[in-house]
Amino acid sequence: MNWYGRSLASGFLAVLAGLGFSSQVQAQTYPTRNITMIVPFAAGGPTDVIARIVTGHMAQTLGQTIIIENVVGAGGTTATTRAARAANDGYTLITGHMGTHAASVPLYPKLAYHPQKDFEPVGLLAGTPILILARKDFAPKDLKEFIAYVKANESKVNAAHAGVGSVSNVSCELLNSVLGVKPIGVPFNGTGPAMNALVAGQVDYMCDQIVNAVPQINGGTIKAYAVATPERNPSLPNVPTTAEAGLPAFQAQAWNAIFAPKGTPPDVVAKLNRAIVKALDDENVRKRLLELGSVIPPAADRTPAALGTLVKSEIAKWTPVVKPVN
């Protein structure tokens, strides 16, 4: 067969695979072509960076290129809807996070997908801890004083967030509900402008992912009261956990995980999961994730079943906290 015939034949096979005819056969040989990884946020954001670090290693294990496609819009739900409708052959995956696969459920009553019904959980990648941050000259010195101050001055304090449905927004809603306060929330377009307002002292406090905040805290332009994870973070060893500082009820992490469209063959999911686990054990991958302040899940939390449980518990956690948009 000449090259022309070969490429025709392989093209024909690819079409067949695309149509789902060979989903039984393909599992043994999967993957035979490039995999598309949809990232529902802009290139360079926390989720994108984590996805790129992990999929970079997964591609070596799987022996195929993983193409990252950044699809932005509507808090990541545009991309997630697209992924939910994609062919369930293992060649289209999505890196979802706490927002797209949990908080979106109570936030958008008309959501075109359901994180549990329309997706197969593949595996957890890494979590980004949430910090309680304040402008540098905000009166309270530690978390205890902060709690007392916010409760006493509920009508005066301003909490910034990066836009309705963003991680900083829903995690701050959780903090406010734990404290039993309803301060004024000032919306910004993204974490950059919100951080700018906090550095400039235009707003009092905000909750944000650790990645954006570490250099500002170290530079002394803002201060951090606590990190909302069970353990302190190596990149901010002096910042206490919420449990240590007296608010154990506030626990929040922006977790990122890979999902496949519902009905993706179980052995394909298993193969992808093994590639994730292998990546998370790689020295270089771990180093780069830790540099970002990420938390790498322990072995027990890396199975597809564990991710399924996490999604379920996260939806239950955010539903009473997050108000629907309309």
């Binding site: 990252i68 919306p187 950059g192």
Partner: protein, 521 residues
Amino acid sequence: MGDIFTNLGLGFGVVFQFVQWTPAFLGGISIPIPVNILLCLIGALVGTLVGVLPGIGTIATVAMLLPITFGLPPVGALIMLAGIYYGAQYGGSTTSILVNIPGEAGSVVTALDGFQMAKRGRAGPALAIAAIGSFFAGCVATVLIALLGAPLTRIALAFGPAEYFSLMVLGLIFAVVLAKGSVLKAIAMIVLGLLLSMVGSDIETGASRMAFNIPELADGLGFATLAMGLFGFAEIIRNLDAGGETDRKLVQEKVSGLMPTRRDLKETTPAILRGTVLGSILGILPGGGAVIASFAAYTLEKKVAKDPSKFGHGEIRGVAAPESANNAAAQTSFIPLLTLGIPPNAVMALMVGAMTIHGIVPGPQVMQKQPDLVWGMIASMWVGNLMLLIINLPLVGIWVRLLRVPYRLMFPSIVVFCCIGIYSVNNAPTDVMIAGAFGLVGYWLIKHDFEPAPLLLGMVLGPLMEENLRRALLISRGDWSVFLTRPLSAVLMAIAAALLILAVLPSLRKKRDEVFVESEN
């Protein structure tokens, strides 16, 4: 002062770094390669080539090309990205001048007089003066960043929601002055632009507004989509009807000199200087400063000109000033990123993304911790601008020759490229349909002497204005007096009020007609 030279020396040292290349086929002879200069050149070239596609503005170009820099070392990646950014910006100006299709807010103003110049056979001088003005502005802004970057940061932090709102009000007044026809029609267009900008989601509640349950409208109408329809497609339809044909033939026959004449240069020198100053100042303000730089510069030129009626009919100063302002602002918009580590706009957010990929998260200490990166970038700005001049001056001839392509061949390719451009920004077919619909709207508007430029500016300023108004009022708990009690905001409001009085009460000023040459048709 000595520090500045040491630092700039460090920066240029980084940019002019040579790497020894020892290819096997030369048998062990190694050649020194200026890797970073090459990356800057490639970035500027690729940026220009992608940016010149109609519909792909700087944000889209940088976002699309960002992944190609991931494999490079951090300093090289950022230098290349900076090159891509300037290249994309200049590429956008090229389409504005040649085919009246601005890819982003800044180039809308360039299109006003740039395209008129092209119609009069002066596309060459328009493109050349844009490159020269940009280069000059780039040089000044680079020095400014090196000298005053840190103190200027304070200006960026002094601007809160109330100040931004007042600045945007001032911007809207500029939009009125931009109009060359009826003031009433200009105001109508601005208001329509503001209304269109409200499509999408409410910033405070997230509630969907005027989106008709179309998921693609959840984030609002895209600027490039609308600009493509109102300028690009509408212009094509107009050209295809009877009157346009002869107009087109004229363009092709009249092409004269490629380079600006001595008189052009003499006329534009003060305009370039003023544009550079305005752009440098406005560019520092994160979140919208750079957007209004180019039309603030245009407004200023129209105001100081002896014969303002020439503006909008191919006045070279109307190209030189906004292009210089645009580029100066593009440069100084790096200041908040370099000194605070906070990205002031979407393009800078992508730059931070590039740094994060390489494990560098910029913060207020980035200048101390990564001096080679910061000063390397500042030096690469200057080199990037030089590259643009080197790439684009020879290209002027080629671009102008493109205009000679018969229109029956040219318009289908413009339509195809527009569609590719619009589609590739969000991979959304809906965007192409929306642009098509606005093409028809735009044709109707042209036929009834409504200008699309004020509409687009209203559309750009609308969200900035609304968001900052609501933020300011949320923080002040509904007290409207903040706009007048905060000194910076009060000054901006006073300037806006003064301009408005000059514009609306003609009896106060005899020469009013020179500003708004009303109902000349």
